[in-house]
Amino acid sequence: MQDLSLHLIDIIENSARANCDLISIVIGIDETENKLSFEIIDNGVGMDEDTLTSAQNPFYTSKSERKKKIGLGIPLFKENAERCNGSFLMESTIGKGTRLYAEFEHNHIDRMPLGSIEDTFLSSIVGHSEINFFIKLFHILQNKEEKVFILDTREIKSELGDIPITWPDVVIYLKDTLNEGIKNIELEEF
C-alpha cells in the first residue's frame, strides 16, 4: 500500500462485506497534538472476540474465497499506525457492528501520505450505492481553529428522490463536492 487512501478503501470494503447499511468515517489532523486519526464505524454483522483478534494477525485467513470477511488489510494498517508512534484499536459487537480507530503521529518520518482520499470516498459511495456514508473530515490548526467538512449521503439521497446516486451528473456533483471540501480544509500538506 503506497498511501493511506488505499488502506482506507480496503477497510471500507471489509465493512461493506459485513452487510452494513451505514459506514461512518471520521478522519482528521490535529496539529495541536500532532495527530492524524481515522475512525471507521459500520453497523454490519460484527465479530466475536476470537475473530476480532484473528483479524489483526497477518497469518490468519478464513480462506473460503468468496466468503472472506477479513484479509491482510487490517494487519498492514495496524503495523503502519504503530510504526508511526500511533495506535490501533478494533472493537466489535455481534449484530451491532465494528469500530476501527487508527492514529498516526502526524509529522512522523515514516507516516505515509494521505493520498487521494477523495477518490476513495467517490469509489465507495458509487461502488456501494446501497450503503449510506457519513463522512466527516476535520483539520485543527496550530492556532486551534477547526476546519470541518461533512458529507452525508443520506441527505443527498433524500434530496435526489427517485434519481439514483450513481446517475452521471450526481457522480460529478459528488466528485466536485469532495474535491472542494478537502481542499477547503487543507487536509493534506503536499
Binding site: 488489510g73 434519481i163 446517475w167 451528473d169 463536492t177 477547503n184
Partner: protein, 120 residues
C-alpha cells in the same frame, strides 16, 4: 461551493432525461477491490471507470466494487455483466485499458479480447 440546492437542479434534469430515454441499467461493471486488487492498482481503475462513465453520461451503466475473487495474480480484475450475454472477466487492467473497455465494450459492444481472462 456546491450545495444541496444544486442537487435539486440535477434531479429535475435527470427526471427529464429519464422520460426521454430508457434509463434501466443495461451493463454492470464490477471492479475487484480486495487487498491484492488495491495493491495492484484497482483504485485507479475504479476511478477511471467512474470518471469515464459519468463524463460520457452513460446512464445505463453502473460501476460497482466487490471483494476478492481468488484471481490475485491477475489483479486488477474487472467483470462486465450484461443481461442475456456472457459474463466477461478482464484481468491485469490499468487506467488505459479501462478507458478502452468503456469505449470499445460498453459503448460499442465489442469486448477488448486481448485482456479477457474468461467468458462465462
Amino acid at each position: 461551493m456546491k450545495t444541496l440546492a444544486d442537487l435539486k437542479a440535477i434531479r429535475e434534469k435527470a427526471q427529464q432525461e429519464m422520460k426521454l430515454r430508457n434509463s434501466n441499467v443495461r451493463i454492470k461493471v464490477v471492479v475487484g477491490m480486495g487487498t491484492s486488487g488495491i495493491a495492484a492498482g484497482a483504485k485507479d481503475v475504479m476511478k477511471t471507470f467512474i470518471d469515464e462513465v459519468s463524463t460520457r453520461a452513460l446512464t445505463d451503466v453502473v460501476v460497482s466494487q466487490t471483494g476478492e475473487k481468488g484471481l490475485s495474480s491477475m489483479e486488477p480484475v474487472v467483470d462486465v455483466i450484461e443481461e442475456g450475454k456472457p459474463r466477461y472477466c478482464y484481468g491485469n487492467i490499468n487506467s488505459e485499458i479501462a478507458k478502452r473497455i468503456v469505449v470499445e465494450h460498453l459503448v460499442n459492444g465489442n469486448p477488448v479480447k486481448e485482456f479477457l481472462i474468461s467468458t462465462e
